[in-house]
């Protein structure tokens, strides 16, 4: 039988209080198993059995104070009865394990042949994000940057290759090849770019209405009447005859109207410009329009004639189409399209009459033109057209 005395549970703590006995009289306890919880001034400490054996006496009950160095428990019958009761620490409770570590002091030498998860890809997080967005596998990219780093250009190249592949796989099923595609040139190429830019920047709103032109005499020159009406409308709402600088958020309102006339041609869309239309006589305007038509047809028009319109008139109704959603070309803020003339049944003072109608479609850039301005412009246009 051995008496186990309470060890110093802190540094020089005089005593400790019994909080809980984990063993009872006559229990057999094994070495290192907790036998009692003691509360010191500093902490709650589990005291493990110093050796295996049977409990023959407990020197206190829960709540009793045991002085450091005084008897705590008697343990008998076990082996190694004369072992000292050193816990191997004076503070806390060191867990003793039986796990045997089987490793070299220097760890392991990694195999150089191990397959890298990365396959040596070098790319910044921004590049990785871009590749993910474009659904490009970085494994397929060849890095052309320093030390094989993948650059934006490499991703771009992959994207182009990929889209060509996609196009060719698409057209292949339709028995077309990439060779069947003809690149856009000249005016068509310009149109493609200008329209894309317009689509990206303009916030369009389109108003449509009809002008009743029943009162017009026979053989009225529709284009000249339209030019006159545009002048009247611009006088009413001058903000539609303007350029908008979106980078400065500034509007330049023009005092003179340089009217672009949209003309269709086999090579594409041309918009020759009639300069300062208010100063020109009807005869001169007609002459100028005819000249433009001929020049567009034989492609002899001077590039200067196509520059800087302030407003555009597009007469699409020559062929078909009543209303349209014409595209405003920056930096202009409005465009007027005229559809195919048609007849409408009108009830006039109780009588049924048939009147000619001219369909009008006005698109404005809503970033700078209000709906009210557009409506008043269109109204002024119609009033002028309907006058004799």
């Amino acid at each position: 039988m051995t008496t186990f005395n309470l060890p110093d549970l802190g540094e020089g703590l005089p005593d400790a209080e019994i909080r809980e006995w984990y063993v009872q009289l006559n229990d057999y306890i094994k070495v290192d198993e907790p036998m009692v919880a003691m509360e010191t001034a500093k902490a709650l400490v589990d005291i493990p059995a110093p050796f295996s054996g049977r409990v023959t006496k407990l020197y206190g009950q829960v709540g009793d104070i045991i002085k450091t160095g005084e008897a705590l428990i008697d343990i008998g019958e076990g082996d190694g009865q004369t072992k000292t009761a050193d816990q191997a620490t004076v503070v806390g409770n060191l867990q003793r394990g039986s796990h045997i570590i089987e490793e070299s002091p220097r760890g392991i030498q990694t195999k150089q042949t191990a397959i890298s998860h990365q396959r040596g890809i070098k790319a910044t997080p921004a590049i990785r994000a871009l590749a993910k967005k474009l659904q490009i596998n970085l494994n397929d990219c060849k890095g052309t940057g320093p030390d094989g780093q993948i650059l934006v250009a490499d991703i771009e190249k992959m994207r182009q290759q990929k889209s060509i592949k996609e196009v060719s796989s698409l057209t292949h099923s339709q028995q077309f090849s990439i060779a069947d595609y003809e690149p856009l040139r000249g005016v068509r190429r310009v149109m493609s770019n200008v329209m894309k830019q317009a689509h990206q920047s303009i916030v369009p709103v389109t108003l449509v209405d009809d002008a009743d032109i029943h009162a017009w005499p026979e053989k009225t020159d529709i284009t000249l009447r339209l030019i006159r009406a545009v002048m009247a409308a611009c006088q009413r709402e001058p903000r539609l005859n303007a350029w908008f600088d979106e980078s400065q958020l500034a509007l330049c309102q023009h005092s003179q109207i340089d009217l672009g006339i949209a003309m269709d041609a086999p090579d594409g869309l041309f918009v020759p410009v009639l300069k300062n239309i208010a100063q020109e006589s009807a005869v001169n305007l007609r002459r100028a329009i005819d000249k433009f038509k001929a020049e567009v047809k034989n492609r002899s028009i001077s590039p200067d004639a196509l520059l800087n319109p302030t407003f555009v008139l597009s007469n699409v109704g020559v062929f078909a189409g009543r209303y349209a959603t014409p595209i405003v070309i920056p930096p202009m803020v409005a465009i007027l399209a005229v559809g195919r003339m048609n007849e409408k049944v009108i009830i006039e003072q109780g009588k049924v009459n048939v009147h000619k109608q001219l369909p009008l479609s006005l698109t404005v850039d809503h970033r700078v033109i209000t709906g009210g301005e557009a409506a008043r412009f269109l109204s002024a246009l119609i009033i002028d057209l309907q006058a004799i």
Partner: protein, 327 residues
Amino acid sequence: MAEITLIEAITQALAYEMSVDKEVILLGEDIGINGGVFRATTELFKKFGADRVLDTPLAESMIAGLSIGMATQGLKPIAEFQFMGFSYPALDQIINHAARFRNRTRGRLHCPLVFRMPYGAGIHAPEHHSESTEAIYAHIPGLRTVIPSSPARAYGLLLAAIRNPDPVIFLEPTRLYRLNKQKVVDMGEALPLDQSFILREGSDITLISWGSMLQETLLAADKLLQEKKMHAEVIDLATIKPLDINTLLTSVEKTGRCVVIHEAARFCGVGAEIVAQLTEKGFLFLQAPIQRVTGYDVTVPYAQLEKHYLPSVTRIYNVIEQTLEFT
């Protein structure tokens, strides 16, 4: 060759070096007759006598100052602080003198000394006894900071620390003192003092830890293998400073993903330095942000809260999952 615990390996390394090098002197509070708080120096007093195993007064600043004096004059003192939390009174001596002597005297004097400090939480100790403030020492130019995680590395790294001509902060994880055993070859072979050790090889993610947190880190790596059939490369940092960035970088360049695990508080912990260096040098290889699993930014709690403070296997595993799922 018997299997021994980490604390026994410390004793063994001390005994070995004392027997081959007469300049090695031990000093500290109650390390002589009582064998120290954790009994690291048991029997050494009997074996080498009071001239070489010195019981000191309860004055850490004095212990450090005494050690510096001995070291600059040709001895190789090994001072034991009872706990890392008690080393702070000695910071003036350590930072202002031990770390600077070589530079201050332009190489004429140097400080071949070791400060041994039991550190870390997990043994249900009171306040001040669970500190893991290795970042404080790692921050100071002129000091080496070393933390072993197994009996064999404790033996080899302590020998290397004693033989190193400059001051070494040798932090001993108390939770591991008697937790595991390992066969240790007592032939006086030191380990390199500037190297990290790879404990598991893997190519899916790199896990970096040190001290007792490697227990949980290795368990998390086991769980990853069981549940996802994925292989973590587990690295024992071992030497906190100088940082063996090459070993870490080689692994992260391979895996592209990394989690750093330490029990020290998060803010300005050593994990922050590791993440910064890996990001600077391995930026192009990263497939996910490098994450940290750490203690919280509070004083280490004791009693019941201690287990919540220390990163658990679950906490580590969850962050590993997040890092692996990041695309």
